[in-house]
Structures are given as structure tokens and as C-alpha cells.
Point group: C2
Chain length 219, copies 2
């Protein structure tokens, strides 16, 4: 019975998920070359689904194509991150604006829960949990924007952005306390249904994040 459900996914999707997770969790080093045959062997699948997954990750901006064929894990420069944040600050601020206009009560409840969870993770110094719950808060807001393009593009940027992200937390514990305060502020603005204020709060928050990120990466 549950087998029927299990079988409802394709190998190419599983490979895609596996590779994406591996890249984002740092199990492949930035700049490292990916060999189709090796992955095929590791996962016990043929190269066909792998090639398709690779093409998708390429479009996600997580893999670079070598002109001669073959792909490497993306290795963003400081300059790339500057560009990324230039766009991210605009997109997520816009998302906060729309979220304040459009989100429903259940989403507001989710945000509140997320903030509580974040406080908890901070108190127990759980790095992995912090990263997860932080991502989660932003995702709730972005999805509350009700704009599929904004959602997919923001999440794509977030993916690329999550490379050295753990360094932010490790670099200075107070970063996350500040982030929590930012989140609360954003949450209040959205709950008050004040789009412009929500937008400004988010803008400030992403700029804080940018500064923390840059400080953490300078190493």
C-alpha cells in the first residue's frame, strides 16, 4: 500500500534532490567537478537520470558547465554575493510587502510559531536547527506573497546563498539574536497589515544579513 506511494517519484527527481542537498550541505566542495559515472555508481542508477538532474541544477545556478563538457559545483565570488544580495534585498522586500497585503491567518500563525522556534533554537545553541528555522521564516513570507515567480526566484537565490551561511551563525552568536529581533519586527508589520513598513523592515533585515554574511565570509 505504501509502496504505491513510494513509487510515485522518479529517479531523476531523487537524483536531483540528492545532488542539491549534497551541494548545499557542502558535501561537494565549491569548484569541485562532478563525474556522472561516479554519481551513477554511488546511487546505483544509470547516467540518464543523472544527466537530466544535472541540467536542472545547472539552471538553478548550482552547477557551472565547463565549455568542454562536465560540470563543477558553483563557487561564487565575493562579487557574486554582492550581486546576489542586490537582487535578494529587492525581491524579499517585495515579498514582505505582498505578504502584508495577502497572507491569511494561518500564515500569520506559522510566522509566529517560527519565531518561537527560533528563540528556542537560539537558547539551546542548535546551529542546524537555527539555519532550518531561519530559512523557514523567510519561506513562509515569500510564499505568502502569492506570486509564483517571486516565490521560485527568491527560493533559487536562497539556494545559492546558503553556501557559507552557517559561517554567519558560527562567526558571531549575536547575529542570530539580531536576526530574531528583525524577524519579530517584520512579523509585527505584516500582522498590522502594513505593507510599506513590512517592506522596510525586510529591507533592513536583509541588509543586516548581508553585512553579517560578508563579515563571516572574509576568511
Amino acid at each position: 500500500m505504501s509502496e504505491l506511494i513510494v513509487k510515485r517519484t522518479t529517479l531523476k527527481q531523487q537524483v536531483y534532490d540528492y545532488l542539491k542537498d549534497s551541494i548545499l550541505l557542502g558535501e561537494f566542495n565549491p569548484g569541485e567537478r562532478l563525474i556522472e559515472e561516479k554519481i551513477a555508481e554511488t546511487l546505483n542508477v544509470s547516467r540518464s537520470p543523472i544527466r537530466e538532474a544535472v541540467r536542472m541544477l545547472e539552471k538553478d545556478g548550482l552547477l557551472n558547465v565547463h565549455q568542454t563538457g562536465g560540470v563543477t559545483v558553483v563557487n561564487p565570488t565575493i562579487e557574486d554575493y554582492r550581486s546576489l544580495y542586490e537582487v535578494r534585498v529587492e525581491m524579499e522586500s517585495l515579498a514582505a510587502y505582498f505578504a502584508a497585503e495577502r497572507c491569511d491567518d494561518s500564515e500569520i500563525a506559522l510566522m509566529e510559531t517560527s519565531i518561537q522556534e527560533m528563540a528556542h533554537e537560539i537558547s539551546i545553541h542548535n546551529l542546524k536547527g537555527l539555519l532550518r528555522v531561519n530559512f523557514n521564516f523567510h519561506e513562509i513570507i515569500v510564499r505568502a506573497s502569492r506570486n509564483p515567480f517571486l516565490i521560485s526566484m527568491t527560493l533559487q537565490l536562497r539556494g545559492i546563498n546558503s553556501f557559507y551561511r552557517r559561517a554567519i551563525v558560527e562567526g558571531d552568536p549575536r547575529n542570530m539574536e539580531n536576526a530574531l529581533r528583525d524577524h519579530e519586527e517584520i512579523f509585527f508589520a505584516i500582522r498590522k497589515r502594513d505593507p510599506d513598513f513590512a517592506r522596510e523592515c525586510m529591507r533592513k533585515h536583509i541588509e543586516h544579513d548581508y553585512q553579517a554574511f560578508m563579515k563571516a565570509v572574509q576568511k
Copy 2:
């Protein structure tokens, strides 16, 4: 000798280009299902490169996956276009802002040329040329933003947006005259190196475009 250059492209890339053009030029109808074997036969290639091209177009948002497998050409609703413009207005305005800060003289010259070409295409009522040169102007500005993420995402949105675009021109010839005036205004702002003004001009322009688009699509 030139053969060496010619051979520097893969079938999957050619298939990708072919399918993308076909979709954007309306040679496949929105919602139409694409059959791998048919395309393979048409292009005299195997299904392998086609499958990879399809995965890329899927990520571009030009093909939808059917849960049972198989893909259909995307068929955006009015609501989708509203979402699209919500994002596009923000991204392209931001691009204009950065372009005013960062573009060099050669890019300014390109913009000027593009405007002249547009005036010419209007005077000879060349629909296809108009679409091309209009796209071209926006592309110059977006690239002048020097932000790779902004560039790729904006061009992606533009791709999806180019579906019913010809209807704008066909609907009312004055739309393009207005667009030309908008372009001039944007150009002056960028040449004056006035980022904020460039941003506002672009914002107004995209909003005009949105109105013209919606009016044209209501049919």
C-alpha cells in the same frame, strides 16, 4: 577551419534553442503537449538530447510537467501575467537604476542606436522588427546592470512574457509610439547618470506595458 567553430555546439543546445524559439514564436500552441519521439523524428536526433533540453525549458518556466510524465507548453493565465509584471516591474526598474550607475559609453551608444532603430521600424510598420528592437533595448539596459542574477532572471521573465506580446503591437499602433517615448526618457535618465530617475522612468514604462498587454490579451 570554420568547421572547428561550427562543431563547438552540442545537439542538446541546438534542440534547446529550437524548442525555445518554437515556443516563443508560437509554433507550438500554449497548452500543447510535446512528444519526445515526434521532436526526435523532426530534428533527426535521438531522445537523449531532447530530454535534457526539455528539463532546461522546464526550469525556464516554458514547459509544464504533467504528473504522469510528459510536458505541455506553458499556458499562463491572466493572473499569472499579473504576477509576472509585479516582479518584472521591480527587477527591470532596479536594472535601470544600476545601469545608470554602471554602464559605459559603448552601452549608451547601443541604447541610442536601439532607439533610432525603433523609430525606423515604427515608420515602416515592421512588426517583427519592432518586437526584436524593443526586446533589444531592454536587454541592453539589463545587461548594463552588471548583475548576473538580475540579468538571468529578468531575461527569464521576458521569455515567458513574450507570448502574446505581438498582440500589443497589433492591438494599437500607438502603443509602440508611446513605448518609444518611454525609451527615450529612460535613455536620457541613464545618460544623465541619474539612477533614481532612471528607475522611475522604467517603472512607469513597464506599467504602461502592463496596461497595453492586458488590454491586448482581453481577447
